[in-house]
């Protein structure tokens, strides 16, 4: 693994600080809110990027994993356990210190799970669901895989929409902040804004670091060989199915972590987060960035998500993403950054030395 591969990560860190300073300098700190949210969505997108680009598997159901993370975190930290207070398992959990005693808005006493427990349960559930779904789904290819993942996403959406426990079409609101570390609370509260911005971008950098390592490792080489010829890869003893499954579960976990944290940050989650439109948007952003270009995926993913969250596209939000998706796939299936810019940049940077 060469240090060259890590340089952009430092660049991303510098960008993080620069963005903060820029907002301070121009007096536009309110941008930090959307930048924080974009970083979390960016996490979903790079996870999906590795799945689509390197493992070659499309998933039109990733909003489902995001929603499993977000909804479980929201439900476990807001739904009152008081009615079950006498049950042995609640008392056991209480003794284990994973239950918070508080008051609801009417001043009645309330028992909920701690955000840490909720987070672990949510992410583990998403990972397990990905594992169970992934084993049969990843045997499929092409249209069948696309439809199966789309079907999975739709089922998740319907379940959250239909169950009163998950708030039906209203979703879940009043989700408390997440005291992740002694000095860090993931919440949308103004006083935590700067810290949350740094937290989300640090997480994005760490997530990126992990994926870059993964791509450079034995797993990554195996994945690339799968991409060029699955038969040849299997003939050289690579268990294609296992690698695909690992990446699928990993990308689901990325989506779920983003879902958990963004839900705490926004203070709520609604069924639209699980919708097909969201899943397609993630696919679009990966496609725009370039399937085999993780940095392109990151840049376009975070950038376009930020613009979308700022409301730049107005009521044409989904239309813009649909158009981008079609145009990129028609004219530059390697992604916007993949076609002309990369050779150009390479010439500019390396050309002088070589």
């Amino acid at each position: 693994m060469k240090t060259r591969n890590y340089l952009p990560l430092i660049g991303l860190g510098v960008l993080m600080v620069a963005l903060h300073l820029l907002t301070v300098w121009t007096g536009t700190q309110y941008y930090l809110t959307q930048l924080t949210m974009s970083a979390y969505y960016g996490l979903v997108i790079i996870g999906l990027g590795v799945l689509m680009g390197y493992a070659g598997q499309i998933s039109i159901g990733h909003a489902g994993f995001f929603a499993i993370g977000g909804y479980l975190a929201a439900a476990l930290t807001t739904r009152n356990l008081e009615p079950f207070a006498q049950n042995w398992w609640v008392q056991l959990l209480d003794k284990a210190g994973v239950i918070v005693h508080g008051q609801d808005i009417y001043g009645l006493s309330q028992m909920t799970f701690t955000p840490w427990l909720a987070c672990i349960v949510a992410v583990t559930t998403a990972g397990l669901v990905a594992l169970v779904i992934g084993i049969p789904v990843l045997k499929l290819k092409g249209h069948y895989l696309a439809m199966a993942t789309l079907g999975f996403g739709t089922i998740v959406y319907r379940i959250f929409l239909a169950m009163p426990y998950f708030g039906e079409s209203d979703g879940i609101t009043e989700v408390p902040g997440f005291d992740m570390l002694p000095f860090l609370t993931i919440s949308g509260d103004m006083s935590h804004r700067v810290l949350n911005f740094y937290a989300s971008w640090t997480l994005l950098i760490v997530g990126m670091l992990f994926l870059i390592n993964l791509i450079g490792s034995r797993v990554g080489r195996a994945l690339r060989s799968l991409h060029s010829s699955e038969e040849a890869a299997e003939a050289s003893g690579i268990n294609a199915g296992r690698f695909k499954l690992k990446v699928f579960v990993l990308s689901a976990i990325y989506a779920a972590v983003a879902g958990v944290l963004l839900t705490h940050y926004n203070g709520g989650i609604g069924p639209s987060e699980a919708s097909m439109a969201k899943s397609v948007r993630y696919v679009a952003l990966v496609a725009v960035g370039g399937m085999l270009n993780l940095w392109g995926t990151l840049i376009m993913g975070v950038g376009l998500t930020f613009l979308s969250l700022r409301g730049v596209f107005g009521s044409f939000d989904d239309a813009v993403f649909g158009t981008i998706l079609i145009l990129v796939m028609l004219f530059s299936p390697e992604g916007i950054l993949g076609l002309k810019l990369r050779p150009l940049l390479r010439q500019l940077i390396i050309g002088g030395r070589a």
């Binding site: 689509m52 070659g56 499309i58 039109i60 049969p136 789904v137 045997k139 499929l140 290819k141 092409g142 249209h143 069948y144 696309a146 439809m147 199966a148 789309l150 079907g151 999975f152 739709t154 089922i155 319907r158 379940i159 929409l161 239909a162 097909m276 439109a277 397609v280 696919v283 679009a284 496609a287 009521s315 044409f316 989904d318 239309a319 993403f321 649909g322 158009t323 998706l325 079609i326 796939m329 028609l330 299936p333």
Partner: protein, 296 residues
């Protein structure tokens, strides 16, 4: 369950099932011609309904439906010419993403033209409460329209593919594109034609079902998923089996209402889709040996 209720569910199942079958045949026509699954298939159904509802202000119902079908066919042709015709052997993933993009665009265009409101065509005969009775089972005349229209479409398509020159040329293209080209068939035009046909039958289905199921800008997606389920259930590309599979899914769905809450109804048919994909991806009536040669 009383016998009356049983037949009531049965008829509801057949009605919805015949719509699913038509959507599935739409999938099949394009799949046979190109090997593409058109993820925008459901949007054709929505467009048919929406356009006919708008045209109804200016013309009588039969003319509005005919014009809506014709317009949707033109839209289908335009989509093929703009987005698909000139691509050179695109990868499956690329085609999936492009047709998904088209589906989003059509939905968004519909949203900006017609808004979020739920619309419907009037009942072709009588109104919501008009029924006629067979024994003690009450059936809306619209149900008859739906089943009749579906049957006519299936029979018409069958006739078209079997006995018209163009239909035969289309089948030749799907059987062996190179051989068809060598025989002087313009394969590209056949693909355009398959999009038109598929859009046309989708639109007609959208018109006849509109009074019962209503039409909204996003009503296409769920229908597309179910249509695809049916297409898979019958074996992709096999339109005759799609009719049986469609009615089967419709009936399962109708009877599922008596067991699970209505909100989960869509989840049931999608769960069937997943099970079929995992267990028998070549469909209930398809041949497993032939399926092994295809690229799933």
């Amino acid at each position: 369950m009383s016998p009356d209720l049983f037949f009531q569910y049965l008829f509801a199942g057949i009605t919805y099932g015949s719509i699913y079958a038509v959507v599935a045949i739409g999938f099949n026509i394009i799949y046979n011609a190109t090997g593409i699954i058109n993820f925008a298939q459901g949007e054709f159904v929505m467009l048919g309904g929406m356009i006919s509802i708008s045209l109804l202000h200016f013309m009588p119902l039969p003319l509005a439906i005919a014009s809506a079908v014709a317009l949707t066919m033109l839209i289908g042709a335009a989509i093929e010419i703009l987005f698909i015709r000139w691509l050179q052997s695109p990868s499956v993933m690329r085609m999936i993403i492009i047709t998904i993009g088209i589906s989003i665009l059509l939905k968004e265009v519909a949203l900006h033209i017609w808004g979020e409101s739920i619309r419907s065509l009037p009942y072709f005969y009588g109104n919501e409460i008009t029924t006629f009775s067979i024994g003690s089972v009450h059936i809306s005349p619209q149900v008859v329209w739906v089943i009749l229209a579906s049957a006519v479409m299936v029979a018409g398509l069958n006739l078209f593919f079997k006995s018209t020159p163009i239909g035969r040329e289309m089948r030749a293209c799907s059987a062996n594109r190179t051989a068809a080209l060598l025989c002087g068939i313009n394969a590209r035009n056949m693909v355009t034609l398959s999009f038109m046909l598929s859009a046309g039958i989708g639109a007609l289905a959208g018109c006849v079902m509109s009074p019962i199921t209503y039409t909204q800008y996003d009503s296409g997606s769920a229908l597309a998923l179910k249509g695809f389920t049916v297409a898979i259930l019958g074996g992709l590309g096999n339109s005759g089996a799609a009719v049986l599979a469609g009615i089967l899914l419709g009936i399962i769905e109708a009877f599922s209402v008596s067991v699970v809450p209505l909100a989960f109804q869509d989840a049931i048919s999608i769960a069937i889709l997943l099970v079929i994909l995992f267990v028998k991806p070549h469909g209930l009536f398809g041949s497993g040996d032939a399926a092994r040669l295809k690229d799933f």
